[in-house]
Amino acid sequence: MTEQPETELLVIGGGSTGAGVAWDAARRGLRVTLVDRGDLATGTTGRFHGLLHSGGRYVVKDPDSARECASENRILRRIAADCIEDTGGFFVTTPIDDPAYADRFLAGCAVADMPVAEVPVSEALRQEPLLNPRISRAFAVEDAAIDAWKTVWACVRGAAAYGARILPYHEVLGIRVERDAVVGATLRNSLSGAEVEVRAQCIVNAAGAWTGQIAKMAGCHVGVVPGKGVMVAMNHRLVNTVVNRCTMPGDGDIIVPIRTVCVIGTTDVPVEDPDQIAPTQAEVAEMMEAGEALVPGFSRARALRTWAGARPLFPKGDASGKVQDTRDVTRSHSVIKHGQVDGVGHLISITGGKFTTFRLMAEDAVDAVCAELELDSACTTAEVPLPDSEGHHFYWLGARQESMEERVHDDAVICECELVTQGDLLSAAARRPEQQLDDLRRGLRLGMGPCQGGFCSYRAAGLLHHDNYYDRGQANQALGSFAQERWKGQQTVLWGQQLRQARLDTWIFQGILDLEHIPA
């Protein structure tokens, strides 16, 4: 058992909320340690569609959440420009939507202080030629596409610059409580197996859908209900603007263009275990069918992959967490001060909320921490750009191509679908040698295009072995688990061209390389 140096604030959970808390607290002068059981942004943050909400989705049903989204949208565009593609958004009344909702929508936008402009249907169709030509009304809003992985890492790099310690692959095994307050936690390094003790003056539980599980370790109850949401990524951008149905929030009513693909989502089903959320064929079929209302022909387009995320739903004022319909639970967040609620001091849980409001969630959580520690300090994160966003330039789709064109004579492309080069791979590996191939995939988007890693996973494993990041066993293992992970995501979308591609990949890996008979 080893010891980590004592920290002032231990943040549990390396998703958007935890990363935001680390950034905010580190800027306020706190000594911070951030832990996650896996790599950062692998929970719900890594599994949503990437929508930076304008707030339009909630203006009628959940006005508080709408107002928060509108306000945080403006702030994130200021502080995290590099992570955001300014796609804009449309809310459209399709033939299956109640036309009366549109007026309620407009009224709600005014109340939420959310910018909106009605556009002629012809203009919406000019901008988005694949949009359903039978829409009756269209409204332009400030939706955008945000790269969650990039945002989390920007917060974390910012926090580290202020001295924060970032520990991915450290699972919390237990929380130590002494004399009515938390004093620290026991962690396990999941890569080495070693157990680590860390002493902390205060703990923020930002574990998202797993908040309840963490709180239980300190003898507290937080009734978070994981709400499963299924997404399907299509093999190209059917739309370049976020498109929403102008209706009460339902299933499969948003299509988000994100990098080289677009994603349709989502469902909302309460589940017991946020780790058991594989999409079913019925759910995938539902999403494909739902897309038809916005983009006719959607159900026949090529689906790349499907996955699910678990929203952390927390019904305000109902600590029992029993809900009939998870669509009715508010999407604004809650800060729980366990000293007051459970008699366990210096433990703060922050739950509910959405990616769009992570900065505000973090601000409220760190305010609570400072109150707990009797520190006088103010949040500054709304004014300060995150690392790499200092130039205030939005991300644009051609950025990778442009950068690659400059290097084409010196640096080989190893993933043609996503334009990842050999240099990109090796510098990413050098920065964090403990990464699994799947973590590199997330960061570089290696293998996330239409071929889903058919060729590039082999090249990546070979290169990482060549440069001594992996020994023989690790390289073989990386290739095998990459293939297995990809299969999991593809299983329920194996039809048409995607099935044909999967069969081709299988022919290469098993038929030509004989991967399954590699010596152990």
Partner: protein, 415 residues
């Protein structure tokens, strides 16, 4: 257009059937959407590699194998037809020098360093069967991104106790686009370039008795590039098949195309067969399109060699309806509930894997009651039900054996 036999598909199976028929004096036209699957083929002739354990004697194992799997293409053909078919094929593509013994699989290195069992291997790969006590060198050119000699060597050493394997990365100039496979193939056809490579290999030999290189040694099938390098370094060289585009597969394609042409057959690439016309219980014509033109191919006999799921010969809709798109032939081996098609373990057998067209012993498609659907239609290769070529390592064997069987059945029917 009117001909005697129309073959749909220009992969191994389609071309093999066409060559067999053309050499027997039949007028044959081959029509294909793309360039065929041979660019994906490793270039070995795999009869049966795993069942599911590694098979030492493929021909000897076949009787037991087919009695366990009566729906397998080898079972439909009949084990007695396997040897004659493969021996004929060896002579049809003699320039590639396929060698081997159908009763003894050779274990050859893959581009990952596994050992894959193959029955017949082209001369360019023959020296790759190495045993303990020999030192071999696995080499490549620095910057060639589809082959990693260190990983291959490390895995080979672990696979084969007593095998002494080293790796070598030869310094090679040129920017990444120069190292694209197709450019390397051409460059190595130049003597000056070969001299540079030979010099580096010689100085890096370190006592190796044989040298393995990725399969980039010149586009043509003559083997001259390889033999010249062997002369210069004084050691046997063997090629290791790489990710597509597979050079050994393409050489086979070139040979089969040439054999077809010399025998008077015709190959039409870029035309997609989309439908057919029937009359009197027989197929009368196949319609093919190269938009905006639609062409009708009339023939007395038709061979479907469209390659199954991986090549577009079997299509699956989002609603999970599997169909054969040209003749709408019924498919066997499709689990009724789409939920059951695929399991969660990538490396396990998937229930959908063996779906395809079921045939009689002459390779004619059968309906669910076991009746022949059209007397003059034959189905061969990966389009057939009952096999898992990528797991069994039986792809080329199935293609050749079923294609020869169909061709012979057509010739018998004509007499």
């Amino acid at each position: 257009m009117k001909t005697e036999v129309l073959v749909i598909g220009a992969g191994t199976a389609g071309l093999t059937a066409a060559v067999r028929l053309a050499q027997a004096g039949v007028k044959v036209v081959v029509v294909a959407t793309g360039a065929g699957s041979l660019g994906l083929a490793p270039g070995t002739l795999d009869l049966l590699g795993y069942a599911p354990q590694v098979v030492e004697d493929p021909l000897g194992t076949l009787p037991e194998f087919v009695s366990d799997l009566p729906e397998h293409p080898y079972a439909r053909v009949g084990v007695q037809h396997v040897r004659p078919a493969l021996e004929w094929f060896q002579t049809a593509v003699a320039d590639l020098g396929y060698q081997g013994d159908l009763e003894r699989n050779r274990l050859l290195p893959t581009a990952l360093g596994a050992l894959r069992p193959s029955a017949l291997v082209p001369e360019s790969m023959a020296a790759g069967e190495v045993g303990p006590g020999t030192r071999i060198l696995i080499a490549s050119l620095r910057g060639f991104r589809d082959f990693f000699p260190q990983l291959v060597a490390a895995n080979l050493a672990a696979a084969s106790r007593g095998l002494d394997v080293r790796s070598l990365e030869v310094e090679w100039s040129g920017d990444p686009s120069d190292l694209a496979p197709q450019r390397l193939w051409r460059q190595l056809e130049q003597p000056g370039v070969r001299r540079l490579l030979a010099a580096s290999l010689r100085s890096g030999l370190d006592g190796a008795a044989a040298v393995g290189l990725p399969a980039i040694l010149g586009r043509d099938q003559s083997g001259d590039v390889r033999r010249d390098l062997e002369d210069q370094i004084g050691r046997p060289i063997f090629e290791i098949p790489t990710l597509p585009p597979s050079l050994p597969g393409l050489r086979l394609f070139d040979l089969l195309k040439g054999a077809l042409r010399r025998a008077g057959g015709r190959l039409v690439l870029g035309e997609s067969a989309t439908g057919f016309k029937a009359g009197g219980g027989e197929v009368v014509a196949v319609t093919a399109s190269q938009p905006p033109r639609v062409e009708e191919y009339q023939a007395g006999t038709f061979v479907l060699a469209t390659g199954g799921v991986g090549a577009g010969g079997i299509e699956v809709t989002p609603a999970r309806q599997a169909r054969e798109p040209i003749f709408d032939l019924p498919l066997a081996g499709v689990p009724r509930d789409p939920q059951d098609w695929f399991g969660s373990d990538y490396f396990a057998e998937q229930p959908f894997d063996r779906a395809g067209v079921r045939v009689d012993r002459s390779m004619r498609p059968l309906d669910p009651d076991g009746e022949v659907i059209y007397n003059n239609l034959y189905v061969v290769g990966a389009e057939l039900a009952g096999a898992q070529p990528w797991r069994e390592k039986s792809g080329e064997g199935i293609s050749v054996v079923t294609a020869v069987r169909a061709a012979d059945a057509i010739l018998e029917a004509a007499r």
